[in-house]
Symmetry: C2
Subunit: 480 residues, 2 copies
């Protein structure tokens, strides 16, 4: 099969492009990108050719002009740009990383300006072998070891400002660099040589020019071995992703916009591979676009889940915390607001009035209501079970002030109905196993500033109905 047919078949089987589609081709003037431009043109795609002068080499401006000259034969739409890579690198990035970021930002801008949804780059099978080898050396997981994908959603990369729906495709990913050179020669194009490709201070160049040839002395087919590893890992990643998508709902529930609750015992029954992938997925949902999420991170999460619930929290990544919450392990942004659909929770811990009759809306559809109640009902001994937990009956005449609802405060005490001494509200919440993050917004009904009902838990003995009571008030907690 010749090169053009191989590229055509790869685009079709991978579903990279629609026939005749318009797209941005990233062209540097090297053999790979010239071959890309020529193939895409011959296969009937409409091109916007984009070339960025990274200003890292004296001849780079000339390379751009060369691209402009050559591209004229393929399209009217050629966009040249310049980037100040050194300036960005001076802010603490490596030159390679700064160049990568500026290059993709440029391509994204061109695509958005020109109303194209796809960007194509000339990454070859040799780039793929180098990428996989690089990930291998640094000990990457499935996602690294599978190498570059034929198609990537650019909005997943947080650092280049791509809008949703923009994708990056790599039509030459199964073509060798040697084949792209042959193609250029065959069509009479002389590629520009980027001399920084010889710079051994760059890891990728050392891999390309030194390490891969060394490995080939052990196995001349070592590139095939690396591609195979990539395919194996891609298949595993796909399989794991499918399984995780199905298992997710059983094991994980949302605890607000920036938090998940993970059922620790359900997680423990999952295979190690799925545990790791679930942890990874949770992190990426909270930190979309995070690149190079390390193996250590998911391992620390797996280890934490197995620790007893007494264990204090763990900082997974800067600002992202893990802590035990009853049978769950919660992953949440530090200081972020957790949702507890299973508990009554105030929207704010500040005081607000509770009129009679009246109602205060709580989180997740819960409500706290008040109303007069017929005097047939008497607050009795709670152990007799005649006071439902979600209901409190009070003597309106003896209340020391207007009713309100607020979160627990430091000095709050209450003498529970039918019990002897008074107790701290804070201790009550602890003794009732209310998780720490759910305590600050637990609704406490106060009369003036005196707690009369720790909602759903304890009602004050001081205001129970007596034979003298002329007006009874009923407070109720209604779940959503």
């Amino acid at each position: 099969m010749n090169l053009l047919a191989k590229v055509d078949s790869f685009i079709a089987t991978q579903g990279l492009l629609q026939p005749g589609q318009r797209l941005v081709a990233a062209v540097s003037g090297g053999a790979d990108s010239l071959c890309l431009m020529d193939c895409l043109h011959r296969l009937g795609f409409r091109l916007v050719v984009a070339s960025l002068d990274h200003q890292l080499r004296p001849e780079s401006a000339e390379d751009c002009r060369f691209v402009q000259d050559v591209a004229r034969a393929y399209t009217d739409e050629v966009v040249l740009g310049t980037a100040d890579v050194r300036a960005l690198a001076d802010q603490g990035l490596s030159v390679e990383e700064a160049a990568r970021r500026l290059r993709y930002r440029f391509l994204v801008r061109v695509a958005q300006d020109r109303d194209a949804r796809t960007i194509a780059t000339g990454h070859t099978a040799d780039d793929q072998a180098e990428t996989i080898l690089m990930h291998l050396l640094r000990g990457a997981g499935l996602e690294g070891l599978r190498g570059m994908l034929p198609s990537t959603a650019l909005s997943d990369w947080s650092d280049i400002g791509a809008s949703k729906g923009l994708s990056l495709v790599r039509p030459l990913l199964e073509i060798t660099r040697e084949e792209t050179r042959g193609h250029c020669a065959a069509i009479g194009l002389t590629p520009r040589e980027d001399h920084t490709n010889q710079d051994r201070s760059l890891l990728r160049n050392r891999l390309r020019h030194d390490l891969l040839p060394t490995l080939e002395s052990y196995n001349p087919q070592v590139r095939e071995s690396l591609w195979r590893l990539g395919r194996l890992m891609a298949a595993q990643a796909e399989f794991v992703d499918q399984t995780v998508a199905a298992v997710w709902a059983e094991v994980v529930r949302s605890r607000g916009e920036r938090a998940f609750g993970i059922d620790a015992s359900a997680l423990a029954t999952q295979p190690e591979a799925i545990q790791r992938a679930l942890a990874r997925r949770a992190i990426l949902l909270l930190r979309p676009g995070l690149r190079d999420l390390g193996w250590e991170t998911t391992e620390r999460i797996r280890a934490f889940v197995e620790l007893p619930p007494q264990t204090r929290h763990l900082e997974v990544l800067g600002g992202l915390e893990l802590f035990h919450l009853g049978p769950e392990v919660v992953m949440a942004e530090r200081g972020g607001r957790l949702e507890f659909p299973e508990f009554p929770q105030l929207v704010s811990h500040a005081w607000q009035a509770l009129t009679i009759p009246g109602e205060v809306a709580l989180e997740c559809g819960w409500r706290l209501t008040s109303g007069e109640t017929p005097l047939g009902k008497r607050g009795g001994d709670p152990s007799s079970g005649d006071v439902p937990e979600r209901e409190a009956i009070l003597d309106a005449d003896r209340l020391p002030g207007p009713l309100g609802v607020r979160g627990p405060r430091a000095g709050d005490r209450i003498r529970p109905l039918g019990m002897g001494g008074s107790a701290k509200v804070a201790d009550m919440l602890i003794n009732q196993h209310i998780p720490r993050p759910a305590r600050p917004r637990w609704p406490v009904v106060v009369a003036g500033d005196e707690p009369v009902w720790v909602a759903g838990l304890r009602v004050s003995d001081a205001f129970r109905l007596t034979a003298q009571t002329s007006r009874g008030i009923c407070l109720r907690l209604l779940p959503s």
Copy 2:
């Protein structure tokens, strides 16, 4: 944690040995195996020390005597052996492979003679990194890339004659070679140096002394990266194995002792990783103990399954074939006997008598019966549906000879009931989409040598009931 505690914890978490268990320790006199012997002894295990003289080096007999001397401090049971590696290698194996085979055969024999169920070897974390790297270079799949397992059932290795229940454990698999040397020094033992470890003609030595140091110049932690790859692959392999065990029954059915039928469309809905693992499992069930089952093999199977059913068979491995069988792809030993529970199949294609009344037992619980039938029933036009397919009614008086059953023969022809001309029995089977391997044992009922019923398919018009019929015979096919 010191070395002994690490080994103890590894043995416990991996469940390698029972406390105080008796086992065979393979000891060569090098640092790894001396360290193994010392640790196992200190941890309270009872040792049979086994040392094999491979006779590949002048000093090897002396190494054995050294082991004998040192081992005396640990156990009364020391078994020395000698092996003629060169003789086995002359039969076409590499010296390394011949040595491996003879070494394990020796260890297995010692274990069996001494009534031990476990053999321990001194493989270290460095051996593991080398093993993973070796598999990586040659492009192995999950099972290679995970490296050596902490525990292996030796009966899975077909070439060393291990009996069931014998296992190989590797207690030092997370200890570095450097640590074993340190341990020997600390206990005052000077290990024997095996000079063939310096022999660069052996791949493993080149990896150890040349390639790994080169890789360390790219990442000083490259061994950790390789171990991590191994752990990742082990977790993936475990996950895949669990899934395959569950999916197997849905997708695969037995077609006899040495054959499987794989539902091609059910297989196609499985993720690539599972397709590969199912193919692998089928092969290993037919060829237990096969080592180094290559990626290409499972890929060829996956490709074959997707081909249209017209495609001819594929030789998967020597003597192991794949062919389409209706909606299935069958994997079977060439010339092996397939089972077709869904069809009537003779036990043998040779002729056997069918008395009236009488019965012939077929495969998989099917039966073919004969008996007289009341004459009210008349064989009519089969298109009218009054002759059930699994039943044939014949005029006994006109039959040209005694009834029998046999497989189809080359010249067999029959004029089907209600049809004009005669047709070849062989063509009938093809036209009725009977798979080729099910045709030779398809039951054909003959009178003398004339086919009267192609069981379940066509009955001869020549012997249909007429007004003159005095005695009717009913033939029946009864499924299990």
